[in-house]
Amino acid sequence: MDVYGLLIEPFLAYSFMRRALVACLALSLGCGPIGIFLVLRRMSLMGDAMSHAILPGAAVGFLVAGFSLWAMGAGGLIAGLAVAVLAGAVSRATTLKEDASLAGFYLISLAIGVLIVSKKGSNVDLLHVLFGTILAVDNASLILVASITSLTLIVLALIYRPLIVECFDPGFLRAAGGGGSAFHIAFLILVVLNLVSGFQALGTLMAVGLMMLPAAAARLWASEVWSLSLVAIAIGFISGIAGLLASYHFNLPSGPAIVLIAGLQYLLSVVLGSRGGLMKQYFPQPHYHT
């Protein structure tokens, strides 16, 4: 098999491969920078918690309206935002830290979702619904994913500076009258929106993979927020392309294939990364000053 047949032909021959690829690229564009901000804010595990918070909302949407993109997306959005806002409010109003109140609320949300699903009785394969499959992405899902990505990039551009300031010195932003919590909430909305968009394509668990793994890997290659975002987006692109090709040539399920390739790049970055990777720390190159 030649290079054309290996890399190009699968995408030219099948429109489902092209749609899956576009979905992956669009997802990476939005999720990359969001993941970077989560890593910088030390909220890396929040993506995972939020994906659990979305799950029951989407399940309720499915039970009410069936395989409706909008019902499931809206359900997930409402559940995710409710958990994020409630957790934020509780951590600001009480002595509880945000991670603890978030854990509390997402577990409640998850339990309610599981309760509703099992009470409803019918064993229709909700796993298919909740874990999604990128190979079945239709045009409506693609438009939703692309819209959410565009919105994410525009909003990030608008609140870029205050968001970075809030990452590193929230006290300063408040002292300068910057309205820190407004930016925080806007950011949380973006996180939930991107998880909803990822859930349409990859399923909630896999969407977190495309959000956090490229971001964590990028941290070992770059240090500016903009360059971190670019590296994360590039790693997401590579994961999408290579994952889909692996799924095509080796008959692997596509979601895990994509996330595992992102994971592979993360592990390589841990070893080889130019900013604090293992090789750099334990086998440092001599410094030459000219």
Partner: protein, 300 residues
């Protein structure tokens, strides 16, 4: 209207029945198709509970503690067998059920199927025997025998209901054969999302192709789907069907890719809820066969 009359006369018969509720057998059936068959034959002599309800998937079912309680209280348990309810042995054991376990498919001429998993070809028994109405007759005999053994006093009623049900199935079987014979032999090819129609295909001469394997447990890969799309285009198959237990989005996507119109919902592993198109075993065929024929007529 006839159905309403039937229901009304059934209600009258129930009222006139000398049996009191206390004497009713408590019967558990593993899934909806079997539950319906047992109900048809046991009539007012039993309360039939179905573990995997309408639209549920018996392959991936996970029993809950309340299911264990239902089994523990049962006088009689019916399963399909042939590997469909792999969860039943554990459930019956943990529930401490000691009563008879009737395998409704006993005596059926089984079909084996080659299931491809990660490149390994694995031969397994195809459990979907009820999709052949002649096997349905065997199910009826087994159910009648088990009911008679558990409740000899009502033997005549079971025999009568069983004979009536068998006559219905035989008439339907002849009808299905007649309908399918209107389709040219070369056009009798169908693609559906779940490979549950092996017995149906063998009995009535229709070739079924599926994008997924025998089990609903494995997820299709990009390579599998590409192969299927190539196959649809090569063979000119227009009969494409969503099945009530698999992810319909996958089939919709394949339909869009190949320009094939979807043929509607087939019922294979489970019945529909009472207000749906296939609330009974017999209705399953009355729903499926005309849809299959309409789809196959469009084949090239």
């Amino acid at each position: 209207m006839t159905r309403l009359l039937a229901a009304f006369s059934l209600a009258l018969a129930l009222l006139a029945s000398p049996l009191s509720a206390a004497e009713k057998l408590k019967i558990v059936a593993s899934f909806s198709v079997l539950g319906d068959m047992v109900k048809q034959i046991a009539g007012s002599h039993a309360d039939v509970t179905t573990l995997v309800g309408p639209n549920g998937d018996a392959h991936t079912f996970e029993p809950s503690p309340s299911d264990a309680k239902t089994i523990a209280d049962a006088d009689l348990v019916f399963i399909n067998g042939l590997g469909l309810e792999r969860w039943m042995q554990g459930l019956a054991k943990s529930a401490g059920y000691k009563g008879p376990l009737t395998i409704a498919s006993e005596g059926v001429k089984t079909r084996t199927m080659v299931e491809e998993e990660e490149g390994n070809n694995q031969t397994v028994t195809d459990p979907h025997a009820w999709q052949d109405l002649e096997n349905g007759l065997i199910y009826v005999n087994n159910i009648v025998a088990a009911l008679t053994k558990a409740d000899p006093a009502d033997e005549a009623d079971y025999k009568f209901a069983g004979d009536a049900f068998a006559a219905t199935l035989k008439a339907l079987d002849a009808n299905v054969r007649e309908q399918i014979s209107t389709v040219p032999r070369a056009k009798r090819r169908v693609i559906t999302s779940h490979d549950a129609f092996g017995y149906f295909g063998a009995a009535y001469g229709v070739k079924f192709l599926a994008p997924e394997g025998l089990s609903t447990e494995s997820e299709a890969s990009a390579g599998d789907i590409a192969k299927l799309i190539a196959q649809i285009k090569r063979e000119g198959i227009k009969a494409l069907f969503i099945e009530n237990v698999a992810d319909p989005r996958m089939i919709e996507m394949i339909g869009k890719e190949t320009g094939v119109k979807l043929g509607g919902a087939l019922y294979s592993d489970a019945l529909s809820p009472p207000d749906g198109p296939a609330p009974h075993y017999v209705d399953m065929f009355k729903n499926n066969v005309p849809k299959l024929i309409a789809g196959m007529m469009d084949n090239e």
